[in-house]
């Protein structure tokens, strides 16, 4: 069987006291389009363990992470191999709902540690202060000129969703920007 290679398969994870950077490959990602006021939206929320978040820029986490992408659009993220599409399809039934597996579209980079906000702020115009962008917030924006989805987690953790073809560039950029936060001599070549 052919081996599956993630976009950042050759990326060496960074692990320092204040900053950790690593790819989380092969997460299941489903793009969901549905009228938020419809019965189907409510049913899908029940199936996923939490109502679809309707406040812009917010994310819920239950059986899967559900990120607000637009007024009628969400990104549903689950563990590798989690058949979210089947769960959502079963809940949607025959209703007018768009369900698309986009797992291969983006890979995910985890940026964790007390320096995560400082690092991302090198290339992101959003206010990432926890008062504004704390756990449960998400945003589609630009990071170092690449389009990304940012999701804030507990304990200064972030998930950076980046298109597969931009992942190598963004990983290089993150390593370069991280240099000042890492102990001297840390190997950050890819």
């Amino acid at each position: 069987m052919a081996e599956r290679l993630s976009p950042l398969a050759r990326f060496t994870p960074v692990s320092a006291d204040d900053l950790r950077i690593a790819e989380i490959p092969f997460l299941t990602q489903i793009n969901l389009r549905v009228d938020p006021k419809s019965r189907a939206a409510a049913d899908i929320g029940v199936a996923l363990g939490a109502p679809l978040p309707t406040e812009p820029g917010t994310c819920t986490s239950a059986d899967a992470d559900v990120l607000w992408m637009g007024p009628d659009e969400w990104l549903v993220v689950g563990a590798r191999g989690h058949d979210l599409e089947a769960t959502i399809r079963a809940a949607a039934g025959t209703a007018h709902v768009g369900i698309t597996d986009v797992s291969a579209q983006r890979t995910v980079v985890a940026v964790d540690g007390p320096r995560s906000r400082d690092l991302l702020a090198h290339g992101c115009a959003l206010d990432l202060h926890p008062r504004v962008f704390g756990p449960g917030r998400c945003a589609q924006t630009m990071l170092a000129r690449a389009q990304v989805v940012l999701a804030a987690r507990e304990d200064d953790g972030f998930r950076v969703f980046v298109r597969s073809s931009f992942a190598g560039y963004l990983a290089d950029w993150l390593l370069d920007a991280a240099a000042e936060y890492l102990p001297e001599g840390t190997v950050t070549s890819r």
């Binding site: 812009p56 820029g57 637009g70 115009a125 959003l126 945003a139 589609q140 630009m142 389009q147």
Partner: protein, 85 residues
């Protein structure tokens, strides 16, 4: 750089947006009935005011929704965006 208020995402850098030109330009009800000159007027002729100007913007790097905003072409001040279909 302009800070443009997306009605969904809030204020974001201009670089996240695509400009859509003048707002409220209605598609002709019966395009086939238009003369070439009328069709050209619909396609190419736009207002060019000094002052308040209603414009279409798309938040391409964000929620990817279209909205209208009023920009003052003399000062670049932008009034809050409005959700459109």
């Amino acid at each position: 750089m302009l800070l443009i208020p997306c009605p969904w995402c809030g204020p974001r850098d201009e670089a996240e947006f695509h400009y859509g030109g003048q707002a409220h330009v209605a598609y002709p009800e019966n395009p086939a009935a238009l003369s070439d000159e009328e069709w050209a007027r619909y396609l190419f002729f736009r207002d060019n005011p000094k002052g308040r100007f209603a414009e279409r913007w798309n938040h391409t790097a964000g929620c990817r929704r279209w909205f209208n905003a009023v920009r003052n072409t003399a000062t670049n001040e932008i009034e809050a965006g409005e959700v459109t279909a």
